[in-house]
């Protein structure tokens, strides 16, 4: 048996952005997922927001304009003449 606490539409809409951004705690995510399975209106809203976010994400790629790749290749080619790499600048991964 699930002891999931039901949430209403207001609460679901308040959490929706963070849900779509994968920023909710597990229990909050479960609550809104359950609500979306049972509320057509909120489900439609969630699908709309998810799709709009996806359209924005597609702006992540830009067509490379003529000449730019050549500029980058020239830049990369010039690196062979650089001296040894400097120490880390804090941008470690």
């Amino acid at each position: 048996m699930s002891d999931l606490k039901p949430i209403n539409c207001d609460e679901a809409l308040r959490l929706l952005a963070a849900f779509l951004d994968h920023e909710l705690r597990f229990d909050e995510g479960e609550g809104i997922e359950h609500h979306l399975q049972t509320c057509r209106s909120c489900f439609s809203r969630a699908e709309f927001e998810r799709r709009l976010k996806g359209e924005i994400t597609r702006l992540a790629r830009e067509e490379i304009p003529p000449g730019f790749e050549e500029r980058v290749r020239r830049l990369l080619g010039s690196f062979s003449t650089l001296s040894a790499p400097e120490p880390a600048d804090g941008s470690q991964a």
Binding site: A17, A18, D21, H22, E23, R40, S41, S44, R45, F48, E49, R51, L52, K53, E55, I56, T57, R58, L59, A60, R61, E62, E63, I64, P65, F68, E69, R71, V72, R73, L75, L76, F79, S80, L82, A84, P85, E86, P87, A88, D89, S91, Q92, A93
Partner: protein, 199 residues
């Protein structure tokens, strides 16, 4: 440290493969084609110089994106004191879905999905570029680059609550801009006119 052939080949392959994404991020951040190209070139140079600080090479895409973003932000911090940016309405709440959705049409059509079908890339670019900078940057980092709220907060050196607030207001302003543009362009009228109940 010697620059090995393998080292260079790996770096070149990574950079050239990521060029569309790097340029995409730079274009969304700077809004200017030439500035974006300069920013990408600067990020590539810095990434090459500091490549030894990258411990896990499979994290190269996120790492070089962070370099690019930080270069942009540090440049903006310098310029920010000299510029006044437009402010968003503090209370701005706008939902494109609520403007478009028609519950009584649930079984016949979906105006909001029709709207997205008709949405052009240039409409979105225009709407994002029109956002005041502090909101545009957060929207770009979250929705274009896919960073978490915590990562955005770290990059911008602001609390996570500020990220949430700017993101909500930025997205609301973005949706309002799309709505206004749709009204101006007659897209909304077309969407409505094609509904089965419309005379």
């Amino acid at each position: 440290m010697d620059v090995t052939v393998a080292d260079r080949a790996w770096f070149e392959q990574e950079v050239l493969g990521l060029l569309p994404e790097l340029l995409g991020s730079a274009r969304r951040l700077t809004r200017h084609p030439e500035d974006a190209e300069d920013l990408v070139a600067e990020a590539i140079t810095k990434a090459w110089i500091h490549r030894c600080s990258l411990r896990e090479r499979d994290r190269f895409p996120a790492w070089i994106h962070r370099i690019l973003t930080n270069l942009f932000l540090s440049r903006r911090r310098t310029e920010a004191s000299r510029t006044q940016e437009a402010l968003l309405d503090e209370e701005l709440e706008f939902s494109l879905f609520e403007r478009l959705h028609q519950p009584f049409l649930l079984w016949w059509g979906s105006p909001e999905q029709d709207f997205l079908d008709r949405l052009l890339r240039e409409d979105l670019v225009r709407a994002i570029e029109a956002l005041p900078e502090r909101f545009r940057i957060v929207v770009v980092l979250a929705d274009v680059q896919g960073l978490s709220y915590g990562e955005i907060a770290g990059s911008l050196e602001v609390p996570i609550g500020t990220v949430r607030s700017r993101l909500a207001r930025g997205r609301a302003a973005l949706q309002k801009a799309l709505w206004d543009h749709a009204c101006d362009a007659g897209l909304r009228a077309r969407t409505l006119a094609e509904r089965p109940d419309h005379p």
